[in-house]
Amino acid sequence: MRTGTLFDPIEQDLHTDEYKINMGPQHPATHGVLRLILTIDGEVIKNVEPDLGYIHRSIEKICERDNYRQIVHLTDRMDYLSSHINNEAVCLLIENALEIEVSDRVKVIRTILDELTRISSHLLWWGVMGMDVGALTTFMYGFREREMINDIFENTCGARLTMNYNVPGGLMWDIYSGFVRDTKAFLKHFKPKLKEYNDLLTDNIIFRKRTEGIGVLSKESAIAYGVTGPTMRGSGVSCDIRKLFPYSAYDRVEFEEIFMQGGDTFDRYLVRMKEMEQSIHIIEQLIDNIPEGETLEKTRAVIKLPKGEFYQRVETARGELGVYVISDGKKSPYRMKFRSPGFSNLSVINEIAVGHKIGDFVAIISTLDLVIPDIDR
């Protein structure tokens, strides 16, 4: 029998081991088919390794086969929650390359739909975020408002998720007659709900304790890891493409870029909540005076981009989406690369999750707001 004194800690004999658990691809918190291999000591996370590719469809390879008109609809299937903005990225790139100037009407309609998309995406994120920390009811409340936006989309372009409403040169059709009315009705309905959300989740003491000071992403590592979007702005770095490189009608509206300084889970949460307010503000400025004009500029039946390289970026609900095209003058791109926001946001996970518990980890991946098809492409 081993004899020990008070100052000879017996812990040395208690051999503990780290073990691995598999979060995903069918885990309720990984929102899709993300697989994370966690190395865990007790409940504390020591290492996270993402395993991707469960929904890799090789969109970039397909783009090398398809013509430019057909590429647009593929982007619906990347970040399916901001499909309208994805479409716009490709259309803007083609329009800039061909030097087509779309009418003001198209620009304004695109901007309104972008912001509706952003609200809808953030609403889904909010519902799911609540669900991840255990408040199951937020999911239904978030979806209730999202449904109204989806109805507007469905009336505008016939689909609720995979819009494909932007085409090179403008819009597939003009907006439907009740668009302005419906959008206003939505805004009127939505504004008081935001306060309700804050009462239900944001101010809740349990939620605060679960998120404040958790998963802190410092300014430096946010930049080094190439993080974008609300995740980056939660750490206090300016990266809003709508402000830095305005496109469509963003140069003529006034809105605030939301920053938080702490970089923790709660700050990332607040950025998105406040972004919804700003989106409302943007839509309100535009909805009453949609200018008249052509909705579709004439383009050739087969679009061929001039030889060269093009880069177009837009701000999706998750951050900067970059479309990089190398064209050799043919009807399909020589190389097409989508720099997706989720990809770089995921790469930071090991940096911010280590040292936290499993419960925190769920909250952290929730505020990174990952959409897996966006990462896998």
């Binding site: 073990y19 255990g134 408040a135 939620f207 679960r210």
Partner: protein
């Protein structure tokens, strides 16, 4: 003599008329056991239905409404489905422990339910250490969860089970101490005495401030004891899949599921008995007429109304709050509830000593 007492006495007489005293006693025991088993099943199914329906209303949905009128038979159909299902477990599981675990939970819940008086003289056995017995027996359930987590050879189950171990042991303290606060007022651990003491005023009114604090603490720690949101770390759907019962299916899963709801019922029943007067009707001071009308409502109805109220409160919590983290859970118990509870006992003792209660 209350209605329920007359009923049990009549049954007793009838059995004595048919058998010898010894045989009648055994027959009574068997009958009681069967009655409780039936009650267990029915109450469990009803609670599952209620939970789903109430959750739906909180979430602006309709909830189950297809099977039977208002979907009342939905849970019965679900239970039948679960019974008919093949139990699928893991290959490497410790099969003995794996199969044993559900019974621990079921038996502990059944035993706990037996001491609660649902009407005058309407409990399976009324022992003089009733409250103590209930606390002791209900903590056997955690053993079932631990065994289930260990036996099913799944890391998620194991984490869930260990969380549950820590949680149950901590919150047991608060449950016990808050009940103890009320026992100071009554002076007896026998449940029938506790109820009898409330014939004039319910204990929560009788002990006013400390009783109310004890009530709040009991509801919080009771919610934790029955593993419900915001303390549902044991299964923590978004973190651990299904926690300790991840690997269970079919009837074994149904056992876990039912016992969870029965535990909620037990906690609510205890809260109703100790704080809200059990089967005693609601009386206001000297308003003879009002009190007389209240007396017409039978005891068991009162009991179920009060229990139902607490159950509804717990469901309301579940569909509103996010979940705590394991260290916060511990912090809440050891840094907030326990010190408050101890202070509260002192306060209550002082009040009792001074006679400052109704």
């Amino acid at each position: 003599m209350h209605g329920t007492e007359r009923f049990t006495a009549a049954v007793h007489q009838w059995l004595l008329g048919m058998f010898s005293p010894g045989a009648a006693h055994i027959a009574e025991m068997v009958l009681t056991g069967l009655a409780y088993l039936a009650f267990f099943a029915v109450a469990g199914l009803a609670l599952v239905y209620l939970e789903r329906r109430i959750a739906a209303f909180f979430q602006v949905r309709l909830g189950p409404n297809r099977v039977g009128p208002f979907g009342l038979l939905q849970t019965v159909a679900d239970a039948l489905k679960l019974v008919a299902k093949e139990p699928i477990g893991t290959k490497k599981a410790d099969h003995f422990l794996y199969s044993l675990a559900p019974y621990f939970l079921i038996i502990s819940s059944l035993m706990a339910i037996s001491v609660i008086p649902m009407g005058a003289g309407f409990s399976a056995f009324d022992i003089d250490v009733g409250v103590f017995f209930l606390i002791a027996v209900s903590s056997v359930g955690v053993l079932g969860i631990l065994i289930a987590g260990w036996g099913s050879y799944n890391k998620y189950s194991l984490i869930g089970a260990l969380r549950s171990g820590a949680q149950m042991i901590s919150y047991e303290l608060s449950v016990g101490l808050s009940l103890l606060t009320m026992i100071l007022l009554v002076g007896s651990l026998r449940f029938s005495d506790v109820v009898q003491a409330q014939s004039d005023y319910w204990l929560i009114f009788k002990g006013h401030i400390p009783a109310f604090i004890a009530f709040v603490i009991f509801i919080i720690s009771g919610t934790a004891e029955s593993n419900r949101t915001p303390f549902d770390l044991v299964e923590a759907e978004s973190e651990l899949g299904a926690g300790f019962h991840s690997e269970y299916s079919g009837i074994q899963f149904a056992f876990f599921f039912l016992s969870e709801f029965i535990n909620m019922f037990i906690i609510s029943a205890v809260a109703a008995t100790v704080f809200l007067g059990g089967w005693m009707p609601f009386h206001i001071g000297d308003l003879e007429g009002f009190n007389h009308i209240m007396d017409y409502i039978p005891g068991p109805v009162w009991f179920f109304i009060k229990t139902g109220f607490i159950i509804f409160l717990m469901m309301w919590f579940r569909w509103t709050f996010p979940r705590l983290r394991i260290d916060q859970l511990m912090k809440l118990e050891w840094k907030y509830l326990l010190p408050l509870n101890l202070l509260n006992i002192l306060l209550m003792a002082f009040f009792v000593w001074k006679g400052w209660y109704l």
